[in-house]
Each structure stands twice: as C-alpha cells, then as structure tokens.
Symmetry: C2
Subunit: 366 residues, 2 copies
C-alpha cells in the first residue's frame, strides 16, 4: 500500500521548515524501507503569487485523495490588502472545512530540556501536558450571515455568526472523551454559557453525551474567561480541554506559549472515519508563518518534524517510527542544540538546516 | 451637590467585600467631610431569591439617576438551572447595556509588594501596567439573532451574532487613544481580522480614526490568538489594548491573572458624556463572586475598595481622595497583611474585615 502524502509548505518559514522534514522522510526510506508517494503544492500567499488564489480546487481534490496532508503555515503581510475572500488564511480554513477536519488536536507539552524557556515559574509548568481539542469547522469561523455592509447613512456593519448544532458538538466531544481515556481520563469543556446560547447548548450536549456514553471519564465545565485565567494560575489542573473554534484558537495558543516550547509543538486536525475506514487528516505546527524571520534560515523546524511524527502515528499507525522521531528530537535537545527561539545560556545556537541534520544524525544512532 | 451612589453588592463574596468599602466611605465623611447619598439594592442571585428576577427595572432607573454605581459581583451556581433570561449575570449585562456603558477599563497592574504572587517569573512581570479597554455593550454578547432552536429532526442549534458598527468601534477606540495619551502613548488594537469580517471592520475603523485624529499615538494591530500568546511571552510590550467584548473578556482576565494580583484589581465601565456633562459609570472588581469562598470572611476586599477609589477619580474628579485610598492599600500591603488569595511565606494572613479595618487605620495615618 503506498502512503500518499500531500505536502503544503505555504508561506513564511513554512517552506524552510518543510525542507527539514524532507530529510526525515528520506531517512525513513533509507533506514526503514518506508516509501511515501509525495506530492507538493502551493497554498496561501505562495499560491496567490502564482495562481491568484490562496488555494486551487485541484489542491482540495489532491488533499481528499491523499492519506494525509502535511501543512506548513499560511499568512503573509504582503497580502494584507487582498480581498477578504482571497487572503492567505483561506487556504487552511478551506482545507479544514472541505475535508471535514472537525477535531483540531493541540498538545501543550513542556519539553523537559526547555522548561526554563517558559516565562512561567518552573514549579508551575514542569511536566505540563495538556491536550486541547478544538472544534475546527464550525462556530463563528464559518457561520452565516457574515460580511460587512454599508448602511444608508454611510456607516458600516461587520457581522459574523456563531452556530453550533447537537451533532457538531457531539462528534468533537467524542474525540475529547476518547483521548482522555488514553491519558488522564479528565475532560474540561469550555464555553461562555453565561452569555451565549451557543455555549449553553454546547454545555448541555457535552453533559448529556457524557452521562450516556462516557460516565467513566471525569467531566468538568469552565467559562472561557476563567479558563484563560486558570491556564496561567495553575495549568497542570488540566488534562483534555474541549472547546469551540474561536475559544480554542486563543486558548490553545495561550497554552502552548505557557510551555516555552511554542516552536516545538505539532498539531493534528482529524475528520470522520468514512465507510472504507479512511480518515482525512492534516498535520501542522502550532506556530504561524513568522514572516519576520522568514528566509533567514533561523526558524525552528522541530514542530514541523514532530507534526510529521504525529502524522505517522495517527494516519498510518506507525507508532514505532513516530516514537523514533520524537526520541531523536529529545536527543538533539539534550545534546544542547537550540534554534534562536529556544536559545538559552550555555547552549549551542544553530540554524534551521543544522537542526534538521542533527535530527537525522540522531535517528541514525537509534 | 450631593454625590449619589448606587451600591449593588450582588452575590457570593460581593456583600462581604462591599462591607469593607462602607468603612472607607465612613472615613471620607469623618476625616474629609465628604458625604455621599447612598442607596443600596439587590442584583443577581440575591435579587432572584427575593424578587424572582436578576435585576428589577427600578434598579436600572436608580442606576441612571445615580452619579455612579458601585457593583460587587454576580453569579451563583445555585441558580444554574434558572432560565437563560433569568440568570444572575443578566444583572450586569443589563446595567451595561441600559446605561450605555460601552468602555470597560481593566487595568492589569502588578503591585510591587505582590510581584512574587504571579506564576510568571519576576523579571517578566515586574512593573507590568497594562490598560485593557474592552467594548462592553456590543459584539456577540448582545447581537441578534440569538437563541437555541430545535430542528425538525430533533437536533438543536445554538446561535449568537457578533455585530460591530463604525460608531460603536470609533467611540471605544477614542477612549483607548485618549487614555494612551495620558500613559505610554501606545495602543494595540486586537481582533481576528483574518477570520471575521467584524474584526476586519474593527481594524479598518480604528486605523482610519487614528489617521484622522490620533496620529500622535503609536497604533499597532494584533490578532487575538497572538495577543493571548504575547501576553504570556512578554506582557510588558503593551500599554493600552483596545478590543471587542468577547476577546476583552478573555484577554483582560488573562492579563490580570499574570499580575498575581487578581484579587486587587478594580475596573471602571464608562458611558458617553451627556448634554448636561454627566457620564454614567459603574465600578466593579475584576474578580467574580467566588462562590467557593463566600460567607467565610476570607475574601480580599481590596479590589472592591480600589474600585471605590477609581469611582472617586473618574466620576467625581476627587483625585486626592482616590490617591489616599491607593496609598493606604499600598501601606497595608507593605505592613505585611495578606488575605488568603495573596498570602506568601512570612506575611500575616488576615480575613476580610481585618483587611478593611487596616485600610482605614492607614487612612487615619495619612
Ligand atoms: C491562520 C488562521 C486562520 C488560523 C485560525 O485562526 O484557525 C490559525 O490561527 C490557527 O489557529 O490555526
Ligand atoms: C459575569 C459575566 C457576564 C461578565 C462578562 O462576561 O462580561 C464577567 O465575566 C466580566 O468579565 O465582567
């Protein structure tokens, strides 16, 4: 069975860090005899520059046909004044929606070797390991009516609509409960039910699903503002957090920054298993396109490499190979190599490709 | 001229901490000859218990007639299953909307004596002083259509609508720019313009207003997810942050938790100056009703006392008296008294009323 991968490096540092994944892919062929059928395409600003759109329909089709998508990042200030429907971010939003990738899994994990990089006190974050499950094809990101309209008096109105339905909430909550069973067995569901009816429904549906099918998992509820506070006050109280698209966007970025390892964190976005047992999936780093450091060869490639490890695990069941990559990354860190974003006194600062090469060298030793 | 105050203690620890403000009010009469015409009423769960509604129309009328409202906090798990329209939180939401209190000013400030209480490293938060200006009568909190509807197949749909108009954005941005001129002269406007048209309009309107009237102030723009990260990574980069209702809810709670002084932080919510020069205003602590510690006499009254100081400054121009209260609070902390929430080794732990009495004793010395 060939393993079909679609690689979409995107903008900014995306192509640079993706280059380093290519080394790991090559190693998999060389050392483990695992071949991938890889195609690559443009998305985001990179696609706008060549094709005039942030993502072509062919790319969506190719993504559907692939077993997994490895995504870099999109977003580029160069395209700030392009129309709203043409902005680079449309690429990732369309991929999520068209492939039905409703569950965005965002681990916030402290790498022991990097704990000192956190702005939080070591005793607050040591060993931190949260999994945020963010709904990613619904909510205010996609609801209609939406847009900007001009009123008769010349003033303007910007409108967006948050919608969540019972099945949308249930399917993402299931992912969270299932994950919790393999981890700390605790789920915290986050909404703003004291202000928003969509949040009230969210809470009710999660509560009922829990009572029906997941009573063995510990379930708590938290308001989104309180969750933002609790993540700072005592982040280790959390195991799995499940929340909507917009809250998940903020809270997962917040949680990953707590770790001090933002440049290290991968993510997976999963769809529903279809009749043939196939599950669409996209893997991307938590970090963005970082246009300020793009092209300098200093970006940290480890989140992209770890996204590839996550891909091996979730899409191909290649647990052993995934663990090898993760071990190689841990060993590289232990050896003292650091890119600029995770640099600390006494360590050796290196660029993107030296870091990528080092991972492959560690893989060779394993 | 009598100074008409409406005092609304609300739920949980609200009444306890409000008791301590009464001591400070009494001191103002005794020591400075300043009398207030004070009336008090029930809101939130406290009002539900007696009147069956979270806030009566008479209370809104009284709030309009007052020169300023001093609010405690609302929210009580006892009322979790009351209908959505009757929940305790409706009290504060209605006050904000009916009085047109559109600018919620939330300082996130580190008290030197408490810097060690932060979960962040001291070198990251020392001297932190951010002012978050949160729009508070618009956005997804109030937009329609909203509600939960049952579809023909029995599933449910929860809906909320985010709306922002040019004038709504302009008036709150003005407050932010005006405040910035009295502080660090920098405003960061926060939205999610890469996903939401309401955020795109927000950014455009702030940009245009800035160019027209506030070009002397430094303006930057940030996406809300990035802002959540930057608040953890390097909070001191911010001076004034201006943002919508929902982002402001999360980001201001996050920012205040960074300080380690959550129980210390007051807030002001201001409306528009009317034809007679009157400006409706409400003052409340950032913290909530804390039902878990209500009735135990251990709550920290300092945020409520500092909210009263803010009231004196913003609603009555009594800068001198406001500064006296703030100095008294600083002296109490310097003397080593701490409530449980800000307790640290070597300090003397005291309850709510001992803390309140200590503030008055320090006022006597000034
Ligand atoms: C690029 C952007 C549209 C995206 C989002 O808001 O979902 C990003 O911030 C993310 O979290 O993956
Ligand atoms: C009590 C609640 C409705 C309120 C809000 O969400 O605005 C509170 O969290 C706040 O921030 O003042």
């Amino acid at each position: 069975v060939t393993k079909k991968l679609l690689v979409l490096p995107g903008d900014g540092i995306g192509p640079e860090v993706m280059n380093e994944v290519a080394r790991v892919v090559a190693w998999m062929g060389r050392a483990r005899g695992i071949a991938f059928d890889i195609s690559e395409d443009l998305v985001g600003g990179a696609s706008l520059a060549v094709h005039g759109v942030p993502i072509r329909d062919e790319v969506i089709v190719a993504a559907r046909a692939a077993d997994a998508v490895l995504f870099g990042s999109v977003g580029d200030p160069k395209w700030a004044s392009v129309g709203f429907d043409l902005r680079p971010e449309v690429a990732i939003l369309k991929l999520r929606q068209e492939l039905g990738l409703f569950a965005n899994l965002r681990p916030a994990k402290v790498f022991d070797a990097l704990a000192e990089a956190s702005t939080l006190k070591p005793e607050v974050v040591a060993g931190l390991d949260i999994m945020i499950v963010r709904e990613s094809v619904g909510g205010i990101y996609f609801g209609t009516p939406r847009g900007i309209e001009t009123l008769p008096d010349g003033t303007k109105r910007g409108i967006n609509t948050e919608i969540y339905t019972t099945p949308e909430i249930e399917r993402v909550a299931r992912v969270a409960f299932d994950l919790a069973r393999q981890r700390g067995n605790r789920v915290c569901s986050v909404e703003k039910c004291n202000v928003m009816e969509s949040g009230l429904l969210w809470k009710q549906v999660v509560t009922e699903l829990h009572a029906r099918e997941y009573a063995d998992v510990e379930l708590t509820h938290m308001l989104a503002d309180n969750c933002a506070m609790q993540l700072v006050r005592n982040p280790r109280q959390f195991d799995v957090i499940v929340t909507g698209n917009l809250f998940g966007d903020l809270l997962s970025d917040l949680a990953s920054m707590l770790t001090g390892s933002l440049g290290m964190l991968p993510s997976a976005t999963l769809g529903a298993v279809d009749a043939e047992g196939r599950r669409p999936a996209l893997y991307e780093p938590i970090h963005g396109s970082a246009p300020d450091i793009a092209g300098k060869g200093i970006a940290n490639p480890l989140a992209q490499i770890l996204s590839f490890a996550m891909l091996l695990r979730y899409s191909f069941g290649m647990e052993e190979e995934a663990a090898l990559i993760e071990q190689a990354v841990a060993n590289v860190l232990a050896s003292g190599l650091r890119t600029a974003d995770i640099m600390s006194p006494g360590m050796a600062q290196v660029g993107t490709s030296v870091m990528g090469e080092a991972v492959v060298r560690e893989l060779d030793k394993l």
